[in-house]
């Protein structure tokens, strides 16, 4: 397809793009949060008087909500400021604003906080030493329980030739968008206006309205440029505090995280323990058991999305008719679990793929062939009874195996080549809408999302419209509008943007072309061509400029058509569900990755030498941005695989809350990957496109684990695969 340069390059390279961190309004105050001093405790008092005694300081705490908010607050389960117990260390107990950041921090430090410490639950394993042998962890800590099964699992295990059972452990990882969260709130009258760097302007609107007890229409969210999201900038984080302080001070209020807070307050992937058991008969899998203990932090009961969502990734893209899965979401004294690019799926794929590698070796088969034999094909049924649609993973695996054979043949001593697989399903979320506006010279796409970097908004949506209208890139403009002006969209997440908003553009485009055909009096389909400055509508020999087809009300802004796309309802076989919420898939995409690594046999140090990805993409809509997603996803996955790990102390401190000790990859550790798209297996997006934001990160830890094992024999069952863990697996320690 025609590749146009991204329209955001120039403004970003000039340093002129205004991100949330760059917001700077005349007369604004600077805000700071008052952090909880313990991970768990009973709040005795939060005394704001010493802060208020400082010049120019405005402070808000729990007791001010009644006077500041029309209904005194919103969601009783999620108070803005807790009054009973502290749920996690650094949880905001109050907020202050002052003329400068220095004064705001001084004021926050002056607040007298009295909290009676209570025992904190931090490490799920020390809390439940008998898991997974005991049936279930003690119920007070369980906030989510999901359980599904099908077939006679006990019989399958009893009659198996071999049973392989293993335990895997995965670490807490952080999104590390380089821009911290930042917003400026300006409350005037009934208008609660906030500018913020967000992946979900409408999500922030809904969240703020719920938390503050406001009608949604009175909250207006204005997205800024976003310095990376990766799931961390969905829903609200700082906005409610800034809005409250603006209400109290009648001034614009800026609130931004420093990078330490970015780690400490961030909602992200937390640790898990995974037990996998597989029964094999005649070289085939005949039964599977999966048990998951997932740390969901201080997520609320009934609000946990992670446990039921992620457990499907432990069953994986494999034919599984006789199985039992059971997962527990455990509430701990950490911030709530939140989405991190393909939430928890890379960790699940690591455990599952490494396990199948082990199972294949145990029964004496080539692990890659063993996986290939069990992989979903179109028309198969998933464990939860969904029909598998067009799915290119088997083809991707074939191509990956061919490359791996070449790499293995040429591999130096101490090097090893491994393959890892992953699957994903585009999340269309709550759906979304766009407004197309055709002017005499240009097609405008008006929609709610700011470009967060992937290009899915500015390039992806433009590419869809260019294709629908056969227009050159310079005649299509993607425009952003705030939540008061734009049609609804649920956000840039779940690899959904191109799929959902793209489909909405197709729908709106077809309507618009229909209207133009009617007005032209054309017997057949019409198309648009560029003549000089003008856009002209053509059908056979009939032609008229767009200008002449607009009626008087349409001179400004232009001819308007709206399109919408909402997800279809699910097709899970509820008979297989014992309890809990599982998530249905909309379409099926997969990726097969190949890595060549070298392992230092004396220290265990791993170096990634070469990397390749074969990505089922349905239809590639814009090649450079598609490739960029794969390259970026791989690097982020290498962090999960090798170096990233949030370290929580027993008293709930995030101990490496800075970018020196929380180690994301630098450019020395990421070899430029070879990227191949597998097309021909259409997905739910426009023209059969599939989402690409998340799929490329999923197979990476599994791929590295397989390559490390091939290079050294080290079978590492914990993430990250640090040199020390490899050294232990090699019995060097």
């Amino acid at each position: 397809m025609n590749a146009a340069p991204r329209s955001d390059l120039a403004v970003k390279l000039a340093g002129a793009a205004v991100y949330g961190m760059d917001l700077d309004l005349p007369g604004m105050l600077w805000a700071a949060l008052v952090p909880a001093p313990v991970a768990h405790g009973r709040i005795r008092s939060v005394d704001l008087a010493p802060a208020r005694a400082l010049p120019g300081v405005v402070a808000v705490g729990a007791e001010d909500l009644a006077s500041l908010l029309p209904r005194g607050g919103g969601d009783p389960d999620r108070p803005i400021f807790p009054t009973g117990e502290v749920a996690y260390r650094n949880q905001p107990l109050a907020a202050v604003a002052a003329p400068s950041l220095r004064e705001a921090r001084r004021a926050a430090a002056a607040v007298r906080v009295d909290v009676e410490p209570l025992p904190a639950l931090i490490d799920i394993e020390t809390a439940f030493p008998d898991w997974p042998d005991a049936h279930a962890p003690p119920s007070p800590y369980v906030i989510a329980h999901v359980h599904a099964r099908h077939g006679d699992v006990a019989a399958a295990f009893d009659t198996a030739d071999r049973v392989v059972e293993e335990t895997y452990r995965t670490a807490s990882v952080h999104q590390v968008a380089l821009e911290p969260h930042a917003c400026v709130a300006t409350v005037t009258g009934d208008r609660w206006y906030v500018q913020t760097c967000t992946q979900t302007p409408f999500g922030v609107r809904e969240d703020v309205a719920t938390l503050l007890g406001l009608p949604e229409e009175s909250v207006v969210v204005e997205g800024t440029w976003v310095g990376g999201g990766f799931g961390g900038k969905g829903s609200s984080l700082l906005e409610p505090f800034a809005l409250l302080l603006s209400r109290a001070s009648r001034r614009p209020v800026r609130l931004a995280s420093d990078y330490r807070q970015e780690f400490e307050l961030g909602r992200t992937t937390l640790p898990a323990v995974i037990r996998l058991a597989t029964a094999v008969k005649d070289s085939h899998i005949v039964g599977r058991r999966v048990r998951l203990l997932l740390d969901v932090g201080s997520s609320l009961p009934g609000r946990d999305f992670a446990t039921g969502y992620s457990i499907g990734f432990l069953l994986g893209p494999y034919r599984t008719s006789t199985f039992e899965v059971e997962g527990y979401g455990i509430r701990t004294n950490k911030p709530p679990f939140g989405p991190h690019r393909a939430p928890f799926a890379p960790q699940c794929a690591f455990a599952l793929e490494s396990h199948l590698d082990e199972v294949g070796r145990t029964v004496g088969l080539d692990p890659d062939a063993f996986r290939a034999a069990h992989l979903w094909r179109e028309g198969d049924t998933t464990a939860l009874g969904q029909r598998v649609g067009p799915f290119g993973l088997a083809t991707a695996l074939e191509q990956a195996r061919a490359l791996a054979r070449r790499w293995r043949a040429a591999a130096a001593p101490g090097h090893g080549v491994g393959i890892g697989l992953g699957f994903w399903s585009t999340s269309t979320g709550a759906g979304g809408e766009v407004r197309l506006v055709l002017t005499p010279t240009v097609l405008r796409i008006v929609q709610a999302e700011r470009e967060i970097g992937s290009g899915s908004v500015l390039r992806g949506l433009a590419a869809v419209a260019e294709r629908v209208f056969a227009l050159p890139p310079d005649r299509v403009r993607v425009e952003y509008a705030n939540t008061a002006e734009a049609p609804f969209d649920s956000g840039v997440f779940g690899s959904r943007t191109l799929g959902a908003l793209g489909r909405a553009i197709v729908e709106a485009g077809e309507k618009m072309l229909g209207t133009l055909a009617e007005r032209l009096g054309a017997p057949g389909p019409v198309r648009l061509v560029v003549e000089g400055d003008e856009l002209v509508v053509l059908s056979g020999s009939i032609r008229r400029p767009v200008r002449d087809l607009l009626n008087s009300e349409e001179r400004t802004p232009g001819l308007v058509a709206t399109g919408r796309h909402y997800a279809k309802s699910n097709t899970i076989d509820e008979q297989r569900v014992v309890t809990g919420t599982f998530y249905p898939y909309t379409d099926f995409t997969g990726a097969a990755h190949v890595a060549e690594v070298s392992v230092d046999r004396e220290t265990g140090a791993v170096r990634v030498e070469r990397y390749a990805a074969f990505q089922d993409a349905g239809t590639v809509v814009d090649l450079p941005t598609a490739r960029a997603q794969i390259e970026g996803g791989i690097a982020m996955g290498l962090g999960i695989a090798l170096t990233e790990e949030a370290v929580w102390s027993d008293d709930g401190r995030f101990q490496n809350a800075h970018l020196l000790d929380y180690r994301i990859p630098t450019l020395g550790e990421v070899p430029p990957p070879e990227v191949t798209f597998v097309e021909g297996f259409p997905g739910a997006g426009p023209f059969g496109a599939k989402g690409l934001g998340e799929p490329p990160i999923i197979p990476v830890p599994a791929t590295i684990a397989a390559a490390v094992r091939a290079a050294s024999g080290a079978h590492v069952t914990d993430l990250p695969i640090s040199a020390e863990r490899v050294a232990r697996a090699l019995k060097l320690l």
Partner: protein, 283 residues
């Protein structure tokens, strides 16, 4: 984070005087500031006055009779870029290159690194193995002492009130090597760093190990066992075992004690072999 007063003396005497003026209340000295400012931001130190060395004539580098003298405020990047350094003191070049990023090395200094005495410093082990000395200047005149005597403990030196590091002196060119392991190769702190040098005049080996609190240490006894030239493989293996057994190590979030012992032995063997491979160690 209370504001501090920055003073920028134009002469060494003025600098000493301005340090003395508030001696006792903890004035801080700033060279590049890349470490000090982090500590101020984190509230680990809160000096009322910070004395800048930027106007002092100490951004110098001099080779005389094979000895290298580096002014304490010379940016590490300038030291790294000295054309003779990789040849005469390869280990020192390697350790300087291992510090932070280019942008950090444009401001960070050798004097600052010593004065701040970070337990995980990559430079101090190499300076120890090179028998480097520091030249100090203070209210009572000048003195020279070994880096080993200068570093006392984590974040503690023998610098007296009012004293400044003027320069660092490496007495002779030595075949040398600096090896480290980190969780992430770039922009990280070493789990273990091993510095090895061979003195042609003594003749003999020096070994220093860094990467663990409270401070980098010289392994004098192990070095002596390597003899006066190229050690046999057996001798080297024995030295590595001894080093990994004897050196004082602990576990922290970067590595366990066990793993550090493994690294000490492995990296020491590799570093000695690398120095031998330079061809400048007699058999």
């Amino acid at each position: 984070m209370p504001p501090f007063e920055l003073v920028t003396p134009a002469t060494v005497d003025e600098a000493i005087a301005s340090l003395r003026a508030i001696a006792g209340s903890g004035p801080a000295v700033i060279a590049g500031g890349t470490d000090l400012l982090l500590d101020i931001d984190d509230g680990r130190t809160a000096p009322g006055r910070v004395v800048s060395l930027r106007r002092l004539p100490w951004r110098t580098l001099d080779w005389t009779d094979g000895a290298l003298t580096v002014g304490s405020t010379l940016p590490l990047r300038s030291l790294e870029d000295d054309p003779d350094l990789p040849r005469r003191l390869p280990g020192l070049w390697q350790s300087v290159h291992a510090v932070g990023s280019v942008a950090l090395r444009h401001r960070a200094t050798l004097g600052g690194n010593l004065g701040r005495a970070a337990p995980a410093s990559d430079l101090i082990p190499m300076l120890l193995a090179l028998d480097a000395e520091v030249d100090l200047v203070g209210p009572d005149g000048s003195r020279r002492l070994s880096v080993d005597a200068f570093i006392r403990s984590s974040r503690r030196t023998t610098l007296a009130p009012g004293e400044l590091i003027r320069s660092v002196r490496v007495p002779e060119s030595r075949p040398s090597a600096f090896l480290w392991q980190r969780v992430r190769p770039a922009n990280d702190i070493s789990q273990i760093a091993v510095a090895v040098a061979f003195s042609p005049t003594r003749p003999g080996w020096s070994i220093a190990v860094g990467g663990m609190p409270p401070r980098p240490v010289l392994l004098t006894d192990v070095a002596r066992r390597l003899g006066h030239g190229r050690p046999s493989e057996e001798l080297l293996r024995d030295a590595c075992d001894r080093a990994s057994r004897e050196v004082g190590l602990a576990s922290d979030q970067r590595a366990s004690e066990e793993y550090r012992r493994r690294l000490v032995g492995t990296l020491l063997g590799r570093a000695v072999r690398a120095v031998v491979a330079s061809g400048e160690v007699p058999s």
